[in-house]
Symmetry: C2
């Protein structure tokens, strides 16, 4: 029986899932790979922590170098997460001729260029299917299944935590902090939820999607980013009334030869398929110039689902090793590393689209006239207005949806509106995506 030896670095949630999967699906894996994938060892700094998956003592290692330096080990699976020294570990593994599988989105988003060029230099492989949208094979779809297309747009719900919070805010009419608390109790949100709710995690995934879909290597700070923590359940209700849902979307879109790259809460039509992605699920909508609109849906995180993506990558590499196939069948970072269309980034102030504005105003005569006057002066025309009943004395939320407008003009108008004495809180501004089917 032919065999490929694998070293696993990191025995956290996903690492345990990987070990469990290799055990439970061993028979299927062997039939599909044409040989055995066997675990040479698992490295973790802490073997005291209680774990769900048992691991025999002889497989436990304290130091990842024991695996990286083991000539028998052909594939290294890195599941350490975003810790110091991990980048060096991956680079050393590539240098040692190991083929590497990682789920480390933060690392790839920040140091993608360095890591991919090391893989090339050492004629090695780096696979990272688990880094975006967990178990959903979206990166493979961009790299292979849809490769005949020029990608036109990507809209991703790629952070399950924030999608869970938004779903609960909308469906159970919770406010943000109650929904967050619920997510934390269920283990869907961390004690410090910042990376999830402020769109940081989503921006890492967007950087990877942009690399594969558009062939553009984009520094993270170039991605416009807004989180969900300032949303009120009023916004989710008003969106519902207007037949929209609010989702935290990671958006990459080519418009008139420029690339938009942005993460922010977005109103999308309630009958679009993306609007029906609820709870912790993820989904990525991809539009190609020939295939048209497609959607890839599934669990975006979790021990088992992420292990599915990790091992699917390991299986491709193991099969190639067993068949004696050299590295480099496909470019790990996507085919368009050369950016053949020389796409440049669209500055955020040049974004064009409809907008949702919600503002608390004093319920006085002429307030709507003054606000719509400011919008008109800034070349923004109004598509619809909701003025709710007065609550809490004489303040009232006013919701305005605009027609297509320029972000620069919207920002200017918002500034002016915020200065009105009748406006009690800064305008809540949410962008609207209408092209979704």
């Amino acid at each position: 029986m032919k065999e490929v030896k694998v070293g696993l670095i990191g025995f956290g949630t996903v690492g345990q899932g990987v070990v469990k999967l290799l055990r439970e699906n061993q028979k299927d894996i062997m039939a599909r790979v044409g040989g055995k994938i066997s675990l040479a060892g698992v490295a973790d700094q802490d073997w005291k922590r209680p774990r769900k998956v048992a691991l025999e003592k002889k497989l436990r290692r304290k130091d990842a170098r024991q695996l990286i330096n083991d000539p028998e080990v052909k594939i290294i699976i890195e599941l350490v997460g975003n810790f110091p020294g991990v980048k060096e570990m991956i680079l050393d593994a590539l240098k040692a001729g190991k083929w590497v599988v990682t789920a480390n989105k933060a690392l790839l988003a920040k140091y993608g260029d360095e890591i991919f060029s090391a893989a090339k230099k050492y004629h090695s492989e780096i696979y990272f299917g688990a880094s975006v949208a967990g178990g959903i094979p979206i990166l493979r779809a961009l790299r292979e299944g849809l490769c005949a297309n020029r990608i036109q747009s990507i809209y991703g719900i790629v952070n399950g935590t924030s999608n869970y919070i938004l779903t609960r805010m909308q469906e159970a009419n919770l406010d943000y902090s109650a929904a967050l608390k619920e997510a934390q109790e269920k283990g869907y949100a961390e004690a410090n939820p910042e990376a999830d709710v402020e769109g940081i995690d989503a921006s890492h995934k967007l950087a990877i999607l942009i690399r594969l879909g558009f062939g553009v290597s984009l520094p993270l700070e170039k991605i416009f980013r807004r989180g969900i923590s300032r949303l009120s359940h009023l916004d989710l209700q008003a969106a519902s009334e207007l037949e929209y849902r609010i989702k935290l979307l990671a958006i990459a879109r080519e418009s008139n030869g420029l690339l938009e790259a942005r993460v922010h809460p977005t109103l999308i039509p309630e009958n679009s398929i993306l609007a029906n992605v609820r709870g912790v699920y993820n989904a990525v909508y991809v539009k190609g110039n020939f295939v048209g609109p497609t959607l890839f849906y599934g669990p975006g995180a979790g021990m088992d689902a992420t292990a599915s993506a990790v091992i699917s990558d390991v299986m491709e590499l193991a099969r190639n090793l067993l068949q004696g196939r050299p590295a480099g069948r496909v470019k790990p970072e996507g085919y368009e590393a050369l950016n053949p269309h020389q796409l440049k980034l669209r500055p955020m102030e040049e974004l064009i689209g409809p907008y949702y504005l919600r503002v608390w105003v004093l319920d006085q005569p002429g307030v709507l006239a003054r606000i719509s006057g400011i919008l008109g002066k800034n070349k923004i025309s109004i598509s619809s207005v909701i003025q709710r009943e007065t609550r809490e004395g004489n303040s009232v939320p006013l919701v305005i949806v605009t027609h297509q407008a320029l972000e620069k003009n919207i920002q200017k108008a918002v500034k002016e509106i915020n200065q009105l004495k009748v406006v009690l809180n800064p305008v809540q501004l949410i962008r609207i995506a209408t092209e979704l089917e």
Copy 2:
């Protein structure tokens, strides 16, 4: 510049899409493949027919053999459809050492064993990503992206024509023949719609999905098949009232070690993501034992979308040819050709699930008691009942949803109910799928 020559057989709708795509996305294709994919010629028997895509005279061939026998041609694209002689053409191309890309689902469903073993025998490749669900890379997902999983179930909306008809019956309250007529006028249904509306096309696709997902080679006649032509808009309305949608589903599901293989109209919960697949779109829901539920959505047919799938396959093969990689990286028919779990088919009468029954009865006292008595006698318990207002004199539609029941018992009960004098038409029986998320 390195180059791979491709011969195209069949210049119908998809064939024209392929030529158009190769032209329009040439720059992207070259960047991704690392060389040029050039068209050596296009074979078609009829060059008089008007077409949407122009083709220079020097590329036109009357006889496919001119391409199959051309030693310069490395890849043959077969887009002839289900005509006599096509199987031989593909076998000859494989024998001649060509790598083959086809969208021919009927052929693969009927002669898969023969064609795949020829590919193996001649160390060749056969790719068929376009054969199921058009532009959606679902076969690639089963073969690679989800390959770490043991597949538990597949539920596919894989026939756009019938999904369009059902969507219109539900949303516009049309009856079947009006919705069919509309589909025909829009070019979504053929003059003779049988293959689409009777589930024949869907059963071909299901056979292919079963081969890839479960490793089982299933003769077409073993797939249980019911179409949508007997559905009434009453059923779609009643389903709506019960918070379901009706979809024509191709279902493959492992339950207690046996494989279910069936195509039929199915009630699914209206908030499931599959229920929100509208119009001519396709979607395939796949549940794996580690990844959990996933869904792949997109256009299931059409010139451009199908060309996307064909050329994505061609690009993988061309890249391998340019890099000097031999055939056989992955098994074309899926990894489980050996059926490692020795799955056997579940006889249809052993199916277990809830059922929807609709029956026109005379509005007389005791009718419901007699019908529910028959159900009870056959060990079928009732979950809910809708009795509509009387129309057309004294006949009335009665809708019953059962709890989990055995198909054999349901069939027996239906026979008995049909024999009641108060029953005016045979019972409309629709199976319900509840496990969809």
